[in-house]
Amino acid sequence: MSVDLSVDVGGGLRLANPFIAASGCFGYGVEYADVVDLATLGAVAVKGLFLDEREGHPPERIVETPSGMLNAIGLQGIGVRRFVAEKLPPLRWRGAVVIVNICGSTIDEYAEVARILDDAEGVAAIELNISCPNIRKGGMAFGCSLRGTHDVVAAVRGVTRLPLIPKLTPNVTDVAAFAAAARDAGADAVSLVNTFLAMAIDVETRRPRLSNVMGGLSGPAIRPIAVRMVHECRQAVPLPIIGMGGVMNADDALEFLIAGATAVQVGTANFVDPFIWGKLVAGLTGYLERHGMAGVTEVVGSLELPARDAGSPSVAS
């Protein structure tokens, strides 16, 4: 195919195509090795890792909602050391570009996890999860405070030269301010959005549907809000953006690219169709060819805004 799908998401991280498996929606990647050639994805963002193992929340952990789903997994995970020992090697020899999503209850924990990954072989980038709505300490607590965001990012920046990608929460008033804070603290890019804090109630039992009461909303339902937030960050902050939220097909991904995202993560859609990756590449390639574009970079941020005086009918021309 004649078009160039490769993108540069900052910090020297170049991807063969802009499609990345979203963290927490692709296990540790190895689970999908039978289904898809991991090397054909732009990258794989693995499930969020703390320093130690975590059991996460009891069931029910997910519930479907209109055009979306809530999850409260609680970041069950094997811890960064076991990940490095057990998962990184198979990911490497399968040729996966591995982005490691890291969490912490304290700034020191974030830094410690990052340090361990910095020493490891085969980590392409670190995605800093300061936006998980499903844990009591850390996570969103950092992501909802500009100061907290700056401090975590700066601390991790201090211990690693790996491309650093803070993942922003949408549960804030002004997401662009957080992108700016992340940049000032040394981030190479930002990824957004994580899930929206939400809840569902079983009206017959009058109990929450999730054991954790609240969970994170993902899926097509949130796409219009996520696209808006990517647009806002693009307008405000000169920093590569990895956009996500409800991408189900190539056209959805194009909304994010046109709004200003350099790459796109896909989470919930992978549950519906684990074979989506080839379809996304084919769809994007077809679009670029149809529109006579040489590569993805031409479409990134190509949104055409109307003349700003289009506000009154008398001049609505």
Binding site: F26, Y32, E55, G56, R61, S67, M69, G219
Partner: protein, 277 residues
Amino acid sequence: MPVDVDAVVLSNTRLSSDYNVLALAAPDVAARAGPGQFVMVKPGFGDHPLLRRPFSVFEVFEDDAGRAAGLSLLNKRIGVTTRALFGLEPGAVVRCLGPLGRPFSPAAPPERAWMVAGGVGLAPFHSLAVALRARGVEATLFYGARSAGELFHLDAFRRLGVRLALATDDGSRGDHGLVTLPLERALRGLDPADPVRLYACGPTPMMRAVTDLAHAHGRRTEVSLEQVMGCGLGGCYSCVVPVRRDGGAPRFVRSCLDGPVFDGGTVVWDGLGGLPG
């Protein structure tokens, strides 16, 4: 290695106002399916419902050449997807990903096999009965339902040489009460030296009771759990079951990968999470 096929509905046999059997043209899935494995299913291509749903492979059927031609689902109407599956007409398309999960480990002679089914929990046992028969294992099906009208496919199991022990909540057929009634009777009458392996699928309290009952008689039970599943492939961690192995602390394991079949004795039943309805 699972495959995803857009399976055409070959037939939809309504068994009652809530139950139906949906035959799907999915040879590639059927050919690979082991007893107790499941598929992730989605009627049609829209986003409504958004996620697939897990269903046991009920029957595997073959073409005249004896090659696997497709599989059927035993469906019980409880919500949006099962309602849609109940209503489908031949020709409709169902996206079908599988086979998935750990199958039952079939007994081997001289072992005998006792299958204990509650309601739609019958689903994984047809394929198990076929496998047992192939190995020459003597099998019994303990099968409970709300009423005689909801005891399905008895002849099919008989044809596979399976003995039947039935129970209904309303007493309209077999024992009057839970399926654990005939089971307990049988366990009592059992010679401790007699090698019998149990398999259970049904409502969680029933599987728990079967496990405990069997344990009290020194028997192990393989249970097929029905956790809510977001992906079926190990990607989402939604389907976990708390399992305690060799006396250690309970650990959440993914039932789509380590299950849906578990050694009932290792399941921490209180931690399964209560599904409403």
